[in-house]
Amino acid sequence: MTSKLAAKPLSRRTLLKQAAGVTAGATLGMPAIAQSKPFAGLKLRGAAYQHGFFNHLKKYIPEFEAATGMTVDLQLSAFPVYNQQADLELSSGGSAWDFCNVTFILAARWISAGLLSNLDDFSGDRKLTPASWNPDDFVKGAQVPYVDKDGKTYGYSWEGGAMLMGISRMDLMKKRGLSVPRTFDDLMKVADGIHGQQDVTGFVSSNLHHWFVPPYIHGFGGDIFANPPGDIRPTLDSAAAVQAVDYYGRLLSKYSPQGVLGYTEDQARAALLGGRSNIFIHSSSWVTAMLTSPDSKVKETALVTRMPLGPKGDFPAANSQGLGIPKNAKNKEAAWAFIQWALSPELTARIVKDTGHASICRRSIIESAEYKRLNTINGQDIGKLYLDVLQQPAVGRNYMAYRTVKEFPLMGDVVNKAVERVVSGQMPAAESMRVAQEAALSSLRRSGAKV
């Protein structure tokens, strides 16, 4: 590069322009090679679901477009609509998108069906990705769904879902002499103690039971499958699973708002933020909103902490959402340039600093002083809680392995229906899980699994 500059008769203007291009490229985390508009004229198409992160990202996209010359068309849809359309699009081998969100529920299905591009080819190519991008910087627990059994990576996580417990009415807790619940038994007692006080419900949840129930199943000593990802015989009728669904079912039917079975996540969050429900156990960004959101009425009385332990251990759910490149994408290199930029350490740090968005997945950023400073609210070190839970599956046994089974979407649906039956009073937990086990077996067999 130096030789190139020396060879040409330089004008001050050319020198400045080239210098600016290099600097801009470096700030955006791109290789410091003199490239002006490498993707000029290209239209990059991508899709994801509506999430705060993409709203933030969209503000920075013009910089990216200016540096690379491409235009980025990022289509956002509602979460369930996106998932269905993405599944159909990728299963049909479509090439309408160059990059897309890889939803955790569908990641295993897509990876095992070979519907995503192997990203190691891009991240390992020094011509495309600088060493400073460091793929190992992503928290292992968050990368689990995107890595196949041979260790190849098919997605990089942009969002970490670390399950934490949000308590909105510490004032009521103090009044009733209740301390923060540490075990499942404590949780039930606290829910009972608060429920009905000043029109507050003890608990709240939403209709994603396949996400909320497994920690209780694990906590009581069971699992969704016998030994995922190898042995995928469903174990929904085990004593532990029945106990868990009975427990969770009681939390919903006795201590939650009316109509909770129909609640979406944002309805549950609204109840928490409005102080109408005391406890919500969900991914960190949903519960930390109590402390950070302008809509929150409980900023002074809120506490974010780890969810309670079960008799057999502590298994808070951890998931993530990732960005990937469909197998038949037309503009893979351009798509990688985008993903690389969007998840680069530099941009991630900027987003955290500018917007306070905290559920990112780069360890170096999470452990940085700046992050700690921004995420210690009311004396609570949210960053540490977040990281601890996100890493948990990679520390001991990988209890989130059930997520990596490609047939999980079928199981998720079965678990949802089982919980609905229990909460609406149609069947007791034992019978409902027996029905669920039968349905799971026939569903799995029909899809060709040998169980």
Binding site: Q84, D87, L88, S91, S92, R109, A113, L115, P257, Q258, G259, V260, L261, G262, Q267, A270, P409, L410, D413, K417, E420, R421, V423, S424, G425, Q426, V435, E438, A439, S442, S443, R446, S447, G448
Partner: protein, 298 residues
């Protein structure tokens, strides 16, 4: 002589006029139906390439259907839904028609406004009723709360969820029966009624012996058409209950949709759809016979 050549001219023109439509319909309706039946004989799944042409076990899907409790349950839910909603629609629609007709032309111009619920896009109807059924935001729930009554959340209640759908569906389609019965009532010769009155019949007698037999054929056709349409129920269930709680509002059409587009099992879903289609064929045949015989009476 000239007439005979007109006939042949006419016939030739008719063939030419009909051919494009016939060909087109065979292409967009006939072939897909054939394709559907063929797909139902395979374990077609989008994530398994090659499964689309796997005819090794052609009747596997149908045998699985017989043993699929969820499928059998969905047929039962469908039967319940169709029965309740068609009965309600016909009863309410007929009552509305009788009421308007009794007004003797005073409210004629208003009758077109009754039509509004049934021409609204069905998804908008679903949005409206979602608003009404969500306890947090529904004016009805909050009004009840204000006077101290806590209404149960209908769409998540095992006993009321199906009725919630029935109510919304009746709201949407009662105008259909209303229009048909009103039209029929307006052709009822008034002499019949007058004659009956002069014989000393009271209102109920007139209704039972004169009006009801007169509108019975229309009611029959109406009922049959509404039953056929009730099999297609989708937007309400999609938005209001998602088939739940559990599978209490999961009709066969919705189950077929889940299997096809959430699980990606196109072969199995095709089998479910073929069963549904057969049902539609039978009822449509009956409906057509009934309506054609109606028209020949007229």
């Amino acid at each position: 002589m000239a007439l005979a050549s007109y006939e042949s001219q006419r016939r030739r023109f008719a063939r030419q006029a009909f051919a494009p439509s016939l060909l087109f319909l065979i292409l967009v309706a006939g072939l897909p139906t054939l394709f559907l039946i063929i797909t139902s004989l395979t374990p077609a799944a989008l994530v398994n390439p090659g499964s689309l042409t796997d005819f090794s076990e052609p009747f596997r899907n149908y045998i699985l259907l017989l043993r699929d409790k969820r499928f059998v349950g969905s047929l039962w839910v469908q039967a319940k839904l169709s029965f309740y909603t068609v009965t309600m629609q016909v009863l309410i629609g007929t009552s509305m028609a009788l009421l308007v007709h009794a007004g003797q032309g005073r409210w004629q111009s208003l009758r077109h406004l009754f039509v509004i619920p049934m021409v609204l896009p069905p998804i908008v109807v679903a949005v409206i009723w979602k608003l009404i059924y969500t306890p947090d935001i529904s004016p009805i729930y909050r009004a009840a709360k204000a006077i101290g009554i806590v209404l149960p959340s209908l769409t998540t209640h095992v006993d009321f969820a199906l009725w919630a759908i029935v109510i919304a569906d009746t709201w949407e389609w009662a105008p259909f029966t209303f229009l048909m019965v009103l039209a029929a009532l307006q052709t009822l010769p008034s002499e019949y009624v007058e004659a009956a009155r002069m014989d000393g019949a009271d209102t109920i007698g007139v209704f039972l012996h004169i009006v009801l037999p007169y509108i019975a054929p229309v009611l029959l056709v109406c009922t049959l058409f509404r039953v056929i349409d009730s099999i297609k129920a989708f937007p309400l269930i999609f938005l209001l209950t998602g088939g739940g709680p559990g599978s209490v509002t999961e009709v066969t059409n919705y189950y077929a949709y889940l299997v096809a587009f959430n699980f990606g099992e196109l072969g199995y879903s095709s089998a479910i759809t073929v069963v549904l289609l057969s049902l539609t064929v039978v009822i449509s045949w009956a409906a057509m016979r009934a309506s054609r015989s109606n028209q020949s009476i007229e």
